[in-house]
Amino acid sequence: MSETNKNPQRMVDQAIAHETRPPAQVMDDEALITLFQSGDEGAFRQLVEKYAQRVRNLVYSIFNDPSMVDDIAQEVFIRVYEGLPKFRFESSFYTWLYRIAVNKSRDEMRKRKAKRFLSLHALLENSNQELQTKLRVHQEDNDAKELVSKALQRLPEKFRVPIILKDIDGLSYEEMAEVMQCEIGTVKSRLSRARGMMRRILTPLLAER
């Protein structure tokens, strides 16, 4: 990308121009990437707007901590912004994006493990039941969904990611293999084990209710 295109002021100007632009025709990822590679910063914004919520949800599913979703999602898109000029369309954009998101999340998990990081949200989650009851009133169904999120957090990372990619994001086995950078056989076996583990965790939790 040219120096002019990397100029932050130019990026802001283009973002403003994008705001005032009439609603653009919905473009596919490939066209947007080509536009970005030819210097149109506005195309990047369209990509971000298209995928931001999916990335944020993916990160949220992995960490179950809303306080860190935006930081990690921003890191993901910064990495995308840096890598997009060299993107060669050898894979689909969103599997590449998911791969970056999963890798960033893994990095973050390692950091947190090293620092024994405990977020405010986790503190809240682990505080006594009485306080939680005072703070939040959930309907029964909502409780069940919360329990699923909790059960998900108990899975090791290598089993948590496939179940999120398949059962929440609905990726195909092939796409999952690309995101997880492994063979389809590995995807199948991890998914199968993850579902079994999830069931074993969920059954007693649901029985307590």
């Binding site: 990026m11 398949k166 086995y173």
Partner: protein, 481 residues
């Protein structure tokens, strides 16, 4: 229906749930579930679990996500463009601090300069000594490492190469059809030759710029060969390439071949004027015009060497990793005293034994005396390389090329005729002149390198022995670390 394993059921449940089974497998599994209600219940539980996961609360959308991201992208760009790893507002403070620290260190260093200088001086010498010892110990070292073209030309004209800095010790060689190869390492070399330089030589011969390039090329090629031809082991051993003895004549021959008719005449006059013992014979078939310089032939990495230790001598094949050895010597910062010391130690040892060598079939003979070590290799003892000699190079006078050891040789012959000389005995296995595994040396398959056994197993006429006057003692391996 046959009951499937737990693992297999789990895999099939996953594939069934994700609709990855083909119609036949799907029907079979459905039938299996009918006969196994627990599996069907598990499928239902997995379906419910998936429903729950899909309906799991999602994070609330962030309307400001793009704005915040663009701010971060801007910061990222500015940070990438910044030279400093911190905000530019701290640059003056950082610069002041840096100057103050450097100044303070400077003052401290100045106040303690004597101590610092001493420290580094002592450490430098210590480190250098240890380093050089480490490099030189146990290694086969080339005797000549830094010859210049003037020295190579002198070698061509007189067959002599200076060994030590004062040139009091020299290596002399010669090879001809009658006497074979003669190699002599001698101290107090009294025969002084006029110092001839390549510049003077080219001026006298009146060479063209193209011929000058050819002369330079011949000298460079010869220099490389000479440097690859003589090696000294740690414990008084010497290895000389069998072809070294003819390089001087070869150089004269090749230089002459690159000259025109008049220039050849001038070259012959130059040889006389500089008191070179050599001249060359221009045959009637020789081209009148100078020939194009041929590239020097490639030398094989496995070659014949004459190997001498105080107890033995042999013609054997060595594979020497010259590049590695030269790098090691270069790494010693040109401190070659160790190499000179090795040459002198070998001569002293040989001289102290005063052992004339006679072999039943003396194709290889070693002579030593006060301050010299001589080697004679009869014609036919060596497999010569096929280097071309365009013109025959001969001695100008019959006695022009005389070696110190030859006087000793005459005395020995007289002693033999009078029946006073000891007979030579065949070499017995037991110790290796230059053992395999020495740094820079490799055994040659089939020839077994420098292993004594390989020398023993060589044809009888290719080996001989230096028989010591005193009882034999075990010499440590010259390359033992």
């Amino acid at each position: 229906m046959k009951t499937l394993s737990r693992k297999k059921v789990r895999e099939l449940l996953t594939l069934y749930l994700d609709e990855r089974l083909d119609e036949t497998s799907k029907a079979t599994f459905r039938a299996y579930m009918l006969s196994h209600p627990d599996v069907e219940a598990e499928l239902e539980a997995l379906r419910r679990q998936r429903e729950l996961l899909r309906s799991k609360p999602q994070v609330d959308p962030n309307e400001w996500f793009w704005q915040r991201l663009s701010v971060r992208l801007g910061e990222q760009e500015r940070h990438a463009q910044s030279v400093f790893p911190f905000s530019t507002k701290y640059v003056p403070v950082a610069a002041t601090l840096a100057v103050a620290i450097v100044g303070l260190l400077g003052v401290l260093a100045y106040q303690r300069r004597a101590g610092i200088e001493n420290y580094f001086f002592e450490k430098k010498d210590y480190v250098n000594t240890i380093y050089q010892k480490g490099i030189l110990q146990g290694n086969l070292l080339p005797l000549f490492t830094n010859l210049n073209k003037d020295q190579v030309l002198q070698f061509a004209l007189f067959g002599t190469l200076p060994v030590d800095a004062e040139a009091k010790t020299a290596l002399r060689v010669d090879e001809n059809k009658k006497d074979g190869a003669r190699i002599e390492l001698a101290e107090n070399e009294t025969r002084k030759h006029p110092a001839v330089t390549v510049e003077e030589f080219c001026r006298e011969i009146e060479v063209t710029p193209q011929q000058r390039r050819s002369v330079d090329s011949i000298l460079s090629s010869a220099r490389d060969r000479i440097q690859e031809s003589v090696f000294l082991g740690e414990n008084k051993s010497l290895a000389v390439h069998a072809d070294l003895a003819k390089y001087n004549r070869m150089m004269i021959s090749h230089i002459a071949a690159n000259l025109g008719q008049q220039q050849r005449k001038r070259f012959q006059k130059f040889l006389v004027a500089s008191r070179s013992p050599y001249t060359f014979v221009v045959s009637t078939e020789a081209p009148m015009m100078p020939r194009a310089a041929a590239p020097p032939p490639e030398r094989s990495s496995i070659e014949q060497f004459v190997v001498i230790t105080p107890d033995s001598c042999a013609i054997t094949q060595l594979r020497i990793n010259l590049r590695d050895l030269q790098q090691r010597v270069t790494a010693t910062s040109g401190n070659f005293r160790v190499i000179d010391e090795r040459a002198h130690a070998l001569m002293r040892e040989m001289a102290s034994r005063r052992v004339p060598v006679h072999a039943p079939n003396p194709q290889l003979s070693v002579f030593s005396g006060s301050g010299y070590l001589g080697i004679r290799v009869e014609n036919g003892a060596l497999t010569h390389s096929s280097d071309e000699m365009p013109f025959e190079v001969i001695a100008r006078e019959p006695q022009a090329i005389h070696f110190r050891f030859e006087s000793q040789e005459v005395q020995d012959m007289q002693q033999m005729l009078e029946g006073r000389a000891r007979p030579s005995v065949p070499m017995v296995p037991g110790e290796s002149p230059l053992p395999p595994g020495s740094a820079g040396v490799e055994q040659v398959p089939g020839h077994r390198g420098l292993d004594l056994d390989s020398v023993i197993s060589a044809p009888r006429d290719r080996r001989t022995q230096v028989r010591p006057a005193q009882p034999r003692r075990r010499h440590p391996s010259p390359f033992e670390l």
